[in-house]
Amino acid sequence: MATEILMPALSPTMEEGTLAKWLVKEGDTVSSGDIMAEIETDKATMEFEAVDEGIVGKILIAEGTEGVKVNEVIAILVEEGEDVPTAGAAPAAAPAEAAPATAPAEPIAAAPAAPVGDVTPDWDADVETKPTTVREALRDAMAEEMRSDEDVFLMGEEVAEYQGAYKISQGLLDEFGAKRVIDTPITEHGFAGIATGAAFGGLKPIVEFMTFNFAMQAIDHIINSAAKTLYMSGGQMGAPMVFRGANGAAARVGAQHSQCYAAWYMQVPGLKVVMPYSAADAKGLLKTAIRDPNPVIFLENEIMYGKSFDVPVMDDFTIPFGKAKIERSGDDVTIVSFGIGMTYALAAAEKLAEEGINAEVINLRSLRPMDTATILNSVRKTNRCVTVEEGWPQGSVGGYISGVIMQEAFDYLDAPVITLTGKDVPMPYAANLEKHALLTVDEVIEACKKVTYR
């Protein structure tokens, strides 16, 4: 049977090319792998190999011809004793037509569904609470989940024998042993990859980065390996794991140890991103993170580790992702923040109240999925919004929130949204400069006055 040789596409973008030279002539016998012709693409001259065996029955495009379209018949191979069919036989089927390019309508984010403005309290009023530090709450969350699920383990630098660089994993080695509380060498890229592979293999790793600054060495595995595999595998396998550690500025540790990564990770489909403020947030969200079948970025803050908050005394206290918390109700202005940013937001609200401005303060807790419903409900009531975070301004979390408000509640706004962030500079070391590089409570107060025209 005759075989048509078609002008091949030799690069992802090639539509036509020049048939520079034939290396076979009519009557030649070719077999798989023989070079038949040289073809010039937009990038290079390529050799074109035969795939089928046969005799060159007819060359249809002369060498030197320019602008030969991909899939045009350039020659015909025949078997021995076979006649050459008439030139111009029907070309092979063209690639399937692309489907009409109207993707299904989709909300702004493809993030996992967030509950719609759920403002129920995290625990019932009659539940006993106990003052607990953020540090203890994180440890307790890991210990409880490790007790209930053998597949959960903790890996990172100094997590075991040293008891944690920031003492988050204190006592875990004693209780769970070296099999499940694993000291790694200082090798973030490598152990993030190994942990991701372990998650593919069915385990539920908790990876502690001493700080998220060092996770930049590992970000390829966090994003390319952990976040994208479920999609790339058509849903067959993913990475149920938690990447956690201190994030953002601590105190006087300079530019390379003082960066907030909230906005970076929040951008990535396939990741979930949370940032607790209180000890109750830390405990409830970390337990949820460990159980979640997706990779979760859990952003802590060194300054908050020692702060104490009421945590409910319950057998199994969890906080769902995508549920913001209204920490303080008010009618005059909405302040949206998360993590350590909440300390500025709440202090400002306190002072503003003394001046007769009642701010509603929203603690986002999870950034992806984000509870935009609670933000929008509040803005529709107060008509004004100020966002507060320590990260940089361009591409900030507040910038995203501001965009959502503009698209969903434009008509409710009585003033432009103000997005307060850390300053657009690497973190300086000098004490006075560092203080200025971060936020101040006064800046929050000033912004709230500006949007309320006071």
């Binding site: 050799e47 063209a94 489907a99 493809a110 190994i194 390829d220 790339m232 079948p293």
Partner: protein
């Protein structure tokens, strides 16, 4: 250590030789067809063919047992065929269709099969190395004796994460076989142009990892070395390195004009070292099979490949709703 000679050993059965022949030929024919479909515009983007390297995966799969895992780079078609994934599903993934292993969302470089313990298909050079060690970690953690084959190229062997992984794999005795598929070229850069320590397996010695160099054009030599490596890992002694000297006949990807080597170099390999021809000769000279027997196998494989190609054209493009699926796994209530 010089490459081990592929001796036509009397203890290799006809059945085994025929099995290797069939499996390698399937990869060769499948890849030729993929190249053809790429030329027709049915396969897009990057497409890295495995032609010439068939003995590596076929030999190592012959040393594997049920439940062993494998992970590799973007040059992954051969690995998938060798571990038993359906050619139809692979070809349909190449054409970006619903019937592909990733429903058309992964493409040539990103395919997976939980059923066959194939963990991808990774596009970032060397990223699969710690991932493979992590898979081995999961088996050790669970207390079984499964082994993970972690394949990477001579190019990947210069990435830092390989050595981070060697260090931890040996430290923790992880049951992982590191298979360096040294085909001589990292895209267009030959090994000697990228390192002054060209014996790649020997770098494992810095971490205390045992290894050896293997003739990757001989499926029997690969299988034999694979068995040594697997026995080492399965017995709890930690990782093992195989540097398999192989050769790719085609360019790095479909759009590689391959000007960094001579035509003669490629032809010489094809004429003198071809892994499929070697087995073919053994089958014929050892009178294990006749020309007609082999022709029948060729025909059968051609039919399998044509069937896969037909399926890959007929399978519909994924529904547009698929754009929004598989981003997150659902949280169990």
């Amino acid at each position: 250590m010089p490459p081990k000679k592929a001796a036509a050993k009397p203890n290799v059965s006809a059945e085994e030789l025929l099995g290797h022949y069939r499996e390698m030929l399937l990869i060769r024919r499948f890849e030729e067809k993929a190249g053809q479909l790429y030329g027709m515009g049915l396969i897009g983007g990057f497409c890295h063919l495995y032609i010439g390297q068939e003995a590596v995966v076929v030999g190592l799969e012959a040393a594997a047992e049920e439940g062993d895992k494998r992970v590799t780079s973007y040059r992954d078609h051969g690995h998938m065929l060798a571990c038993g994934m359906d050619p139809k599903g692979i070809m349909a993934e190449l054409t970006g269709r619903e019937g592909g292993f990733s429903k058309g969302k992964g493409g040539s470089m990103h395919m997976f099969s939980k059923e066959k313990h194939f963990y991808g298909g990774h596009g970032i050079v060397a990223a699969q190395v710690p991932l493979g060690a992590g898979l081995a970690f999961s088996d050790k953690y669970k207390g079984n004796d499964r082994v993970t084959f972690t394949y990477f190229g001579d190019g990947a062997a210069n990435q830092g994460q390989v050595y981070e992984t060697y260090n931890m794999a040996q430290l923790w005795d992880l049951p992982v076989v590191f298979v360096i598929e040294n085909n001589g070229y990292a895209m267009g850069t030959s090994v000697v142009r990228s390192t002054k320590s060209p014996s790649l397996w020997e770098r494992g010695a810095a971490y205390g990892i045992k290894g050896e160099e293997v003739d990757g054009m001989s499926v029997l030599a690969v299988k034999e070395a694979g068995e040594r490596a697997v026995a080492h890992c399965r017995s709890g002694k930690g990782p093992y390195i195989l540097e398999v000297k192989t050769y790719r006949y085609r360019g790095h990807s479909m759009s590689d004009p391959a000007k960094y080597r001579t035509r003669d170099e490629v032809q010489k390999m094809r004429d003198e070292r071809d892994p499929i021809e070697q087995i073919r000769d053994m089958l014929l000279t050892g009178k294990h099979a006749t020309e007609d027997d082999l022709k029948a196998i060729d025909k059968e494989i051609k039919a399998t490949v044509n069937e896969a190609a037909e399926f890959s054209k007929e399978s519909p493009e994924p529904a547009l709703e698929e754009l929004w699926t598989d981003i997150y796994a659902e949280v169990e209530a």
